[in-house]
């Protein structure tokens, strides 16, 4: 028996562009970089304080929960009556995060006040359980922590749960917040670009951390007659090469892309746009370019990445960047690669610098890669 299709019924986002998917859409259309200095992170301690800061109260003790709940509330508000009446026990929730509420660890370590709820949310499974409880998801609850591919893996998991009949709808929520912990870690690795990230640029020197909450409501296709965007294929893989650096040959990412296209029954020439991981680190962008050449040859589809706009939002990245793809598909435009000035030599010629109208955008390939060698590829299709 053929498994049911899975559609995207609603999206919600809060990130450096502002609160709400409308702010993300505006920034995408204007190619606005929202990276800016954040006074919480002094340049004496960190490589840079140019980051993607979301508009939440920076003094709160539970930013991960706040980001996740704001985004999920918006996504649920977009549902139609039919979707809103899905029984709670047929709704699941999948949380995607790398560090959950790491703010609590910093507070507890420093002897600063920290509420019981904020402390609980140090554990991703507790954070997921509390979100499910607040938003009435009584079906399966999972939390995914596959490094920076978490968001895409969470979307894959959501689609699988619906396809095998475990739920009719899944709230996929990505959340990670800016913290001294993460800023300090990337500083220790010397992975931050002091001037702000410049994905695929010849002068790129590293990433820019960002924070976001992002939510996508997945539903069984027949419950979303008004929605025309489906998740049509996915693949994940591991480089089996290095813990923090990507393999130079891009074979792992190419394997994930190949699996996703096979599942979607698509040929390379049918992909209309690639939304890249594009961290702005020298090795990641080079590896991604190599993997794309492996799949597409010299004639790649248009490619861009949005981390120059909102920063690298870690566990939320796969979800919020997929939302950017949904907005692009709905608005029939190709997002630009914010902060890209001069394309590095040897990179795909079809890198999109500035947003532009698209005549056809039926299939989008979304990519993420992460520490531990993990790769993810997801395909969105428009009917």
């Amino acid at each position: 028996m053929r498994e049911p299709q899975v559609a995207i019924a609603g999206c919600g986002a809060i990130c450096a562009t502002g609160n709400g998917t409308e702010t993300l859409l505006t920034a995408l259309k204007n190619n606005t970089s929202c990276l800016c200095p954040n006074e919480r992170f002094t340049r004496l301690r960190f490589q840079s304080n140019t980051v993607g800061t979301a508009p939440i109260d920076a003094t709160g003790d539970d930013p991960a929960y706040k980001l996740a709940s704001i985004a999920l509330r918006e996504a649920i508000s977009r549902l139609c009556n039919r979707q809103s009446s899905i029984p709670p026990d047929r709704i699941g929730l999948i949380l995607s995060t790398t560090k959950a509420n790491i703010e609590a660890l910093e507070r507890l370590s420093d002897g600063r006040p920290c509420s019981a709820a904020a402390s609980r949310h140090l554990q991703a499974d507790m954070l997921a359980a509390d979100l499910a409880s607040e938003f009435g998801a009584l079906g399966p609850v999972q939390n995914i922590s596959n490094a920076c591919v978490s968001g895409l893996v969470a979307l894959m998991q959501g689609a699988k749960l619906i396809q095998r009949g475990a739920a009719d709808a899944i709230f996929v929520v990505g959340a990670d917040h800016l913290s001294g912990f993460v800023m300090g870690g990337f500083t220790a690795l010397k992975a931050i670009d002091p001037q702000g990230c410049r994905p695929f640029d010849q002068d790129r020197r590293g990433l820019s951390p960002g924070e976001a909450g992002a939510a996508i409501v997945l539903v069984r296709r027949d419950l979303a007659p008004q929605s025309s965007i489906t998740i049509s294929g996915w693949g994940s893989s591991n480089d089996a090469n290095h813990m923090t650096g990507p393999s130079r040959d891009g074979a792992g990412l190419a394997q994930a892309i190949h699996a996703a296209m096979s599942a979607a029954r698509l040929q390379p020439e049918q992909i209309d746009y690639v939304n890249a991981h594009g961290t702005g680190t020298p090795y990641n962008d080079a590896m991604e370019s190599t993997a794309l050449r492996t799949i597409f040859g010299q004639t790649t589809p248009p490619i861009s990445g949005i981390k120059g706009m909102i920063g690298h939002t870690l566990g939320a990245a796969g979800v919020i960047e997929t939302i950017a793809c949904v907005l692009a598909m709905q608005g029939k435009f190709l997002p630009g690669t914010t902060r890209l000035n001069n394309v590095a030599e040897g990179f795909p010629a079809n890198l999109v610098k500035e947003p532009r109208t698209a005549t056809r955008i039926d299939h989008i390939l979304k990519l993420n890669t992460g520490f531990g060698g993990v790769n993810g590829a997801l395909i969105l299709s428009h009917e």
């Binding site: 959950a100 939390n143 922590s145 998991q157 912990f181 591991n238 089996a240 531990g372």
Partner: protein, 181 residues
């Protein structure tokens, strides 16, 4: 209905990790990754008969990476500052990366934080959907001394692992529980 088999399983504790040496980098890993790697080591002969890109890895870490997070963050006041090496292991999925590197397993990955209940379910789904031909299943339960103190826990660290495959001989997967290893 699909039938799958547990063709190998193993359980290791922190005591096993003390004297173990699996490669030159073993000593640099956090305890969670060491245990995950050790638990899977005896599966190596099974990987010879399966294409490495067809072996998936599903891991659940009860405490995520919190024990390592605590160790990492304690370094903020140290002379050398925060450790880039330890930061690498402040991800619950670090053990997956180490297993993949050691055994050159390039198939799909999945990592949960919390209990082990979803590990076998999702491993079976990888095989049922033909996304993999075998799946390494790992459950890691680690609490460092500093983390145990924080959460008031006294349990010893351990990891359990099982290899799920399409064909036996082995235990029927539906009669197997990772916690019973």
């Amino acid at each position: 209905m699909n039938k799958f088999f547990i063709t190998a399983h193993n359980c290791v504790t922190a005591a096993d990790a003390c004297g173990a040496r699996l490669g030159t980098r073993f000593g640099r890993m956090d305890l969670s990754s060491q245990l995950a790697l050790l638990a899977v080591e005896s599966f190596a002969p099974h990987f010879e008969s399966t294409p490495r890109d067809r072996v998936a890895i599903v891991l659940a870490a009860r405490a995520g990476s919190l024990p390592t997070d605590v160790n990492f963050w304690e370094g903020r006041n140290a002379a050398g500052g925060l450790s880039p090496t330890i930061f690498t292991y402040t991800l619950p999925s670090a053990g997956i990366g180490e297993i993949a590197i050691r055994h050159r397993l390039t198939g799909p990955n999945l990592c949960f934080v919390g209990d082990s209940r979803d590990v076998l379910v999702e491993a079976k789904d990888f095989l049922r959907r033909n996304e993999a031909d075998a799946c390494v299943c790992v459950f890691v339960d680690v609490a460092s001394p500093a983390f145990r103190k924080m959460i008031g826990c006294t349990e010893a660290a351990k990891a359990t692992a099982a290899l799920l495959q399409r064909n036996g001989p082995g235990l029927p997967a539906n009669e197997f529980n990772l916690l019973s290893v």
